[in-house]
């Protein structure tokens, strides 16, 4: 009798690859050093392969078509509402460090804190492993050459979360592993084995709380903001149209764009009026700091620089009126700088 699969069986691991087209391996066996368990919600992870057939519509004398051949192959993936969990120790990177390194293009720096800042030269592809815990018969999947193309950090919900959207070289599975070509197997001769006794660090933090900071243009909006999110389009783009491979073979960097969107309770305060004036004034830039958490080791702080606030809107919301700043983009401080946004764990 077949064993039913369950979404509860999933354990997700991520790992930075040293080569875009290969899982980290030794003589074909997956090297799990640095593979980190990621805590994600049930049903939040999706991995989608794109391997369409090319139709072969030659005339045959009938209206029925003959079989085609397989075209190029790629994959996409996303994780919705993944808790962003600080490590609990200032200076120790969070469990999702590999994902953040992929997003920013570099490891974090800093003493007693972990500062993620953009790198224009670092391309750190990920492997993602979706193991069916404890089962050798249910189908597990592994993704190589994964990059985050878009991340949205969501505040003021029950948990501090991030939505990840990404592309990948390809995704293989344990059941049909032997039938994939060598480029799809990406250096492996056997499907990876689930790491034993994974370690997870830190506790999830709420998306709101005492001591949380929302400072826009030096104005403290923490008790006015109802909705706030920060979005980063990473600009990471895969190259998937070379002659010698049906798969994506490399990652390159296009324009990145960081933005913030927020909705605040409308009032006539000096703080909010300052924001309104800045949004009304052409070509004005401001900075914003959003800090979630207030305990050392469990605090994450986003700093967005040179934001050009888009024109605000006002909308009735029950008995209140919302002041909405639509998606507004951050920018580098000067030509040659890449300081549009940083994320600091401290």
């Amino acid at each position: 009798m077949a064993n039913f699969n369950s979404s509860r069986y999933t354990r997700l691991f991520s790992q930075i690859q040293t080569s875009f087209t290969a899982f980290n391996n030794t003589s074909g066996t997956w090297t799990n050093t640095g593979a980190q368990m990621q805590r994600v919600d049930q049903g939040s992870l999706s991995i989608t392969r794109n391997a369409p057939y090319s139709r072969f519509p030659v005339l045959t004398g009938t209206r029925s078509e003959v079989a085609g051949i397989r075209g190029r192959k790629s994959a996409s993936w996303e994780v919705r509402g993944m808790p962003l969990i600080p490590s609990g120790v200032a200076g120790t990177a969070p469990d999702c460090d590999s994902i953040l390194q992929n997003i920013f293009g570099a490891a974090s720096t800093g003493s007693g804190q972990n500062v993620y800042a953009f790198s224009d030269t670092g391309y750190l592809p990920l492997s993602l492993f979706e193991f069916r815990h404890g089962s050798t018969t249910l189908t597990s999947r592994a993704v190589w050459g994964a990059v985050v193309t878009r991340v949205v950090w969501n505040f003021n919900g029950p948990f501090l979360t991030q939505d990840l959207t990404g592309a990948a070289g390809y995704a293989i599975d344990s059941t049909g592993f032997a039938d994939f070509d060598s480029q799809a197997q990406a250096g492996l001769t056997a499907f990876p084995i689930e790491p034993t006794s994974p370690t997870v660090n830190g506790q999830p933090i709420a998306g709101f709380g005492s001591g949380y900071v929302a400072t826009v243009d030096t104005q403290n909006l923490s008790t006015k903001v109802r909705v706030v999110s920060i979005t980063l389009e990473t600009g990471l783009t895969l190259v998937g149209d070379v002659y010698g491979s049906p798969y994506n073979v490399a990652v390159v960097g296009d324009t990145r764009r960081a933005s913030i969107a927020l909705t605040a309770l409308d009032d006539d305060s000096t703080a909010l009026n300052d924001i309104k004036v800045k949004a009304d004034t052409d070509n004005t830039t401001i900075n914003a700091t959003i800090q979630a958490g207030s305990v050392a080791g469990s605090t994450a702080t986003w700093l967005l620089k040179n934001i050009q606030l888009n024109a605000f809107d006002m909308k009735d919301n029950g008995a209140l009126v919302d002041m909405e700043i639509p998606t507004s983009y951050a920018h580098a401080s000067s030509i040659g700088a890449t300081d549009d946004m940083t994320l600091t764990f401290s």
């Binding site: 200032a90 305990v295 050392a296």
Partner: protein
């Protein structure tokens, strides 16, 4: 098996009994498991290293939950930061064998106890 102190907020080694929930929690753990956990970010330092920082039992009792550190005195925070710095030292020697541990009773929190 060696003695370590946990100096983070929360850490679990899944599929084992090891769940660390208090700053300063003393734990006995197999060396290979400890080293693997440390490699994956677990805030464990050898007990001797931690004990050299002279935390008082009262401090560890009061501020075992890291959420309370915001109310801790500067002296405690200085020692805590020094403990955190130990995590960033290149290699943590495994030197605190159980048979050498101090007279203080071992308090471990296991998954079973947590539940």
């Amino acid at each position: 098996m060696s003695s370590y102190r946990f100096i983070g907020s929360h850490c679990e080694i899944w599929d084992t009994k090891y769940v660390f929930t208090r700053f300063g929690q003393l734990v006995e753990i197999p060396d290979d498991l400890a080293q693997d956990a440390i490699a994956h970010g677990a805030a464990l330092v050898p007990a001797k290293t931690f004990d050299a920082l002279s935390f008082t039992p009262d401090e560890l009792k009061k501020f075992g939950k890291t959420g309370l550190h915001a109310k801790a005195p500067a002296d405690f925070l200085t020692k805590r930061d020094a403990a955190w710095m130990k995590l960033r030292e290149p290699a943590i020697p495994v030197e605190d064998k159980v048979q050498d541990k101090a007279a203080e009773p071992v308090i471990t929190h296991t998954a079973q106890e947590t539940k």
